[in-house]
Amino acid sequence: MKLELRGVTKRFGKFTANDSIDLVIEPGQVHALLGENGAGKSTLMNVIYGLYDPDGGEILLDDAPVNFAGPGDAMAAGIGMVHQHFMLVPVFTVAENVILGFEPTGKSGIINLKEARKRVREISDRFGFNIDPDALVEDLPVGAQQRVEIIKALSRDAKILILDEPTAVLTPQETDELIGIMRQLRDSGTSIVFITHKLREVKAVADKITVIRRGKVVGSADPTATETELASAMVGRSVSLGVEKSPAVPAETRLAVENLTLLSDNGVPLLEGVSFDVASGEILAIAGVQGNGQTELTETILGSHPSAVGSIKLSGKELLGQSIRGVLDSGVGFVPEDRSKDGLIADFSIEENFILDQHDREPYAKGLSLDLAAIEDAANKYIEQFDVRTQSSKALGSQLSGGNQQKVVLARELSRPLQLFIASQPTRGLDVGSIEFIHKRIVAERDHGTAVIIVSTELDEVLALADRIAVMYEGKIIGIVPGNTSRDILGLMMAGLPYDEAQAEADKHTTILAAADEDSDNPIGGAL
């Protein structure tokens, strides 16, 4: 089926999210939609899927104009969508999820689960998905849940499949499998719209690439285009991929973590015998699939989990057992994983957010009262230094874009002399420009002699920043490897294999993305 958009426009108030977009998706093609966060990709897909009414333009299916009142219409017309955040009911089985909303029923109105199971098995077998129709969705790994979403779409006879940032949650090996599935679907005639901001994946799988910037189509490219070309088109100026950084000059050991163990309230180990150290002037990246103890590790260092046992020594001084205040005062800068929850107060002004952990000391406080003039001066200084895009330092945190919010958090944490800097997911959800900036600041902090810990689930980011990489799996550190370890080995370690086995396994099979690394114009790994 051919999908065509002509001049599609979508506005939210004064903000134009999609500005007369023209797009043709040919049958049996993987069409990548490339653009930064906030470029309008998801909005466009929601228009196609009937979730938003376009303010202008038309949508044509096989040259016939269509008008979708809701996702139901879109699905009936043969469009399926896999959202970035899965729309599955965790306590239902795969079969129950797949039929949700389209339940096959017998004469008495009772759901025919046998029919549902048959459907799931059929599709699963056809594409080698290896999904058990009776498995509970909550028990499945993320990659498998995504395949359930795809089955859901296919079971409704989707001829056009929209995948919204499908690789954001996957390990490299799972991404590899997904790319295989996408190719298979394409070969069987399904058109795929692949939304992403990751250049490497686009080059690996797309037949055609359309770049969107600020709600407009700014060009199309073939998969043979270089990553730098694509990135420049996406951002609208030339960008340097990867981080320019000189080799680390690690000095004395700054942070020594020994045998750190943390149990959850019901006795499940969240951290188990975690030991590592970080030297002054070195970046240790902690890699791993989300939810393998990274969050708990950083929070424990910060002092959020007083029940942890073991030892955390910063320049010889024990941190464990100290209050958060005490840890911060020992010279620890902390960028939390979820900036809107833990990093920033949305209803506070930028000024007030800048002083969140320094509000009670000079120069921001004089005795019992705040020194508003000093706070404003400092805020304006940081806004300039960190290039925070805002009208005024009085603007609320909630009025900033994600990238600018993160710059505020970073500016706050880097504005005092640090011994140790911890940043969790420092660039999650940010645009290329902000990522570039933040990576530079992190490397600068390292060169300043600070010990740096970066927690990231994005291998691109890990590879771009790390001097050494610690891989976490199920609350343990499965191995600490050099910063230039291959993506394949890291991916396998993230799935729980120790280094030796991972290396042996990786030699047998090179993933598509790792192969892309080899002949990329940017071998260290652009964090895009």
Binding site: F12, F15, M87, P336, K341, G343, A346, L356, H359, R389
Partner: protein, 409 residues
Amino acid sequence: MSVSSEHAPAPEAKAPEKGAAPSRWTTALRDMASSSATVIIFAILGALILAAVLIAAADPTVQKTAGYIFARPADFFKAVWDSVSGAYSALFRGAIYNPDAATFARKIKPITETLTAATPLIFAGLGLGIGFRSGIFNIGAQGQVVLGAVVSAYFGFAFNLPVVLHLIVAIIGGFLAGGLWAGIAGFLKARFGANEVIVTIMLNSIAGFLMSYLLTTTAFMRPGSNNPVSQRVADTAMFPKLLGQDFRLHWGFVLALLAAVAVWWLMERSVLGYRFRAVGFNPDAARTAGIKVERMYLYVMLVAGGLAGMGGVSQTLGTEGVLQEGVAGSIGFDAITVALLGRSRPAGIVGAAILFGALRAGSPLMQTDSNTPIDIVQVVQALVVLLIAAPPLVRAIFRLPVPLKEVAA
């Protein structure tokens, strides 16, 4: 289709998703406390209009003329006009200025009565406002008022101290009593995570019955009396009258205004107030930044309860001079309305308290002059709250998305 509800109509450039979603009630209450000035003015006007309908409906002449409304509609409308204008003009004469009175002092007495009635509401409203802005929904102002009244009265009649000192001691006693009473809820929340709404409601009942009990003990009862009325507070512990003995208005009102300024400084300019607000808006971020959130909850309750206790102090040491059942009236509950109406800001709270003081001061004259039941004032107060609450309450109950307020910078 289930997916559609997941997509609030917001451009993807905006929408920094909230962390742990606060409960619907917390959200509704916060929305109420921060509703816009237009909503509030609209709510007051709306309440007065709706109350006018009730006033007319309760009026016997209106009821009679309604019987032959189609024969002589003019009678009916005249009766409606008479009843409503009569009631509201009586309210005005009772609350602000009475041009019919004989002397100038009597002419302006109503406004001083309004300010007298507003005084405890200002104190208690300020306390509640601090709580609301710090993420604590303290329903317990009533109990805190009672404790403030009990202790200040006791200090007032049981001690024998020089003039100024006695008043100060009694005031401090009332402040601490209210603060510690609220501190119980603060401590339970900080230490065990007990819900402050439930704890403070329960503490209200306990405080009420505690006072009833104390009034039967010899420590409080007047010698030779069996009535549940305490001994008189010594003159040395009473607030001096502000405008001479002809008026009940006392220096407690000035103290209330000073308290409003102090609260403004606390919340807007002080380190402690910064922490209060940080904890109120986002306890997770505050904790991550090293603020001891639980300790702040306790401090908030101590300060808020102390201010509510001052509401009781201004009753016993300002207007009543004795401790008796009903000394706290419904001050603690009206103060919730006052704080919401004043958007938890000191200036707004003073304004709202004076409005409520006026309703209270004017209602007796309204009843005697125009036969309008005094309860109508309660109805007006309730309608104000209802109308302020309606938009967010409806949103909260039906889980509708919050309207897009500002576009991303």
